[in-house]
Amino acid sequence: MNSVHDMGGMHGMGLIVEEKNEPVFHEGWEGRIFAMNLAMGAWRKWNLDASRHSRELIPPAEYLRMSYYEKWIAGLIELMVKAGLVRGDEIESGTPAVGSAKAIPAVNPEQALARITTGLPAKRNVDLPARFKIGQRVRTRNVHALGHTRLPRYARGRFGNINRDHGVFVFPDTNAHFLGEHPQHVYSVCFAARELWGAQAAEKDSVYVDLWDEYLEPA
């Protein structure tokens, strides 16, 4: 979806503000909501793509106003309510609804830590022939998905070269909406900075974007 999360190339966002000796979490609640996001994933009611999409659904003005972890609050609530793990009225009241089922056993520390030690590989061992070869010139499709996509606006309808083939991965555009994994090759596509930004860009510079097979066509 063409919302404000797709920020590459936008103007007016200001200078980069660095913080010396920045803590991992600035306040206790940031760590808690971060951990809740990770732990609740263990219920397998959604996937990484769906959780990214839950934050993209935050209305644009809100998205820009909210801090990073405020978006994680909104995203997690969105996911849990949609998945039926909690109800909207329970979020508002802060207590379980009368007679609501208890979802025992709770995610425990071992399960939570297993999620970070084993990770959530998105690569799939599927023997799919690659449609594009290293060095091949391609053009990205000029498509504007209404749902989740990982083809940024600045890289649509542009010419580039296949730099490397990362292998076969889950396709976020369908997976985020629980429409299947549709595994396909992901390529690192090299775009000359001038192809993307015109003559103002430095001649030798380039931007490498990881793109799924379906985003590309031969050029």
């Binding site: 999360h5 920020m7 590459g8 190339g9 103007h11 980069i16 503000v17 010396k20 920045e22 991992v24 979490f25 909501i33 951990a35 809740m36 732990a39 609740m40 219920w43 935050i58 209305p59 809100e62 801090s67 972890y69 405020e70 609050i73 909104a74 969105e78 793990l85 909690v86 909207g88 979020i91 802060g94 379980p96 609501s100 979802a103 709770a106 995610v107 425990n108 520390p109 939570a112 999620r115 970070i116 990770g119 959530l120 590989p121 998105a122 209404l146 083809l151 940024p152 490397r164 990362h166 292998g167 992901v186 993307l196 860009a201 430095a202 030798k204 510079d205 931007v207 974007v209 990881d210």
Partner: protein, 210 residues
């Protein structure tokens, strides 16, 4: 697509103070039997105390010290990083890109905040901020200038937008004057920002993870 009004309702339904909201949410999830508080403690502890940029710094120092390791790291980063005992969430599929006198690499995620957690820990606020995400692809040299790095025109800047599940780590140039340093001393020089490509590694400004 789902109902837009429903989303607006969900997002507006939450009270305003994030600390109170999160506290209420945690209590709710615990009461509903969905999560154990100790699981949350364990995750916070892992990212506050165990998984951070010191991991990546050790990988870089090994690559600087051992040419065969560096070769493995550049050709198969997942295996080489696993040799050092690192890997897992947001580091499942790694690519390492090497800086040189002629090439400077910079990593960004314009669409959200993808970052190689397994080797760098959680990203700093600036990496996740709108200014960095919007500008790194269109004006990388301007961004680097803000970090104090002015690159000559003949240096090729390569920006890596982390749009998929591949996570990038920059292998910075080894600074001059470090020839006699051992791996541990080298690792202490390597900063988080240098492994994102926002800075170079210098001998004088060593110390902190940033």
């Amino acid at each position: 697509m789902s109902d837009t009004r429903q989303h607006e309702h969900d997002h507006q339904a939450v009270p305003s103070d994030p600390a109170l909201r999160v506290k209420a949410l945690e209590s709710l999830l615990v009461e509903k039997g969905l999560v154990d508080r100790a699981a949350l403690d364990a995750l916070v502890d892992a990212y506050e105390n165990k998984i951070g940029p010191r991991n990546g710094a050790r990988v870089v120092a090994r690559a600087w010290s051992d040419p065969a390791y560096k070769q493995r790291l550049l050709s198969n980063a997942d295996a080489a990083i696993a040799e050092m005992g690192y890997g897992g969430f947001q580091g499942e599929h790694m690519v390492v890109v090497e800086n040189s006198a002629k090439v400077h690499n910079l990593v960004v995620c314009t669409l959200c905040s993808c970052y190689p957690w397994a080797v760098l820990g959680l990203p700093p606020v600036w990496y996740k901020s709108a200014p960095y995400r919007s500008r790194a692809v269109i004006d990388p040299r301007g961004v680097l200038r803000e970090f104090g790095l002015e690159l000559p025109v003949d240096v090729e800047v390569r920006v890596w937008d982390s749009t998929a599940e591949v996570r990038y780590l920059v292998l910075p140039e080894r600074p001059a004057g470090t020839e006699r340093m051992n791996e541990e001393a080298l690792a202490a020089l390597v900063t988080r920002d240098a492994m994102v490509g926002a800075r170079k590694v210098s001998v004088s400004k060593a110390g902190s993870a940033g």
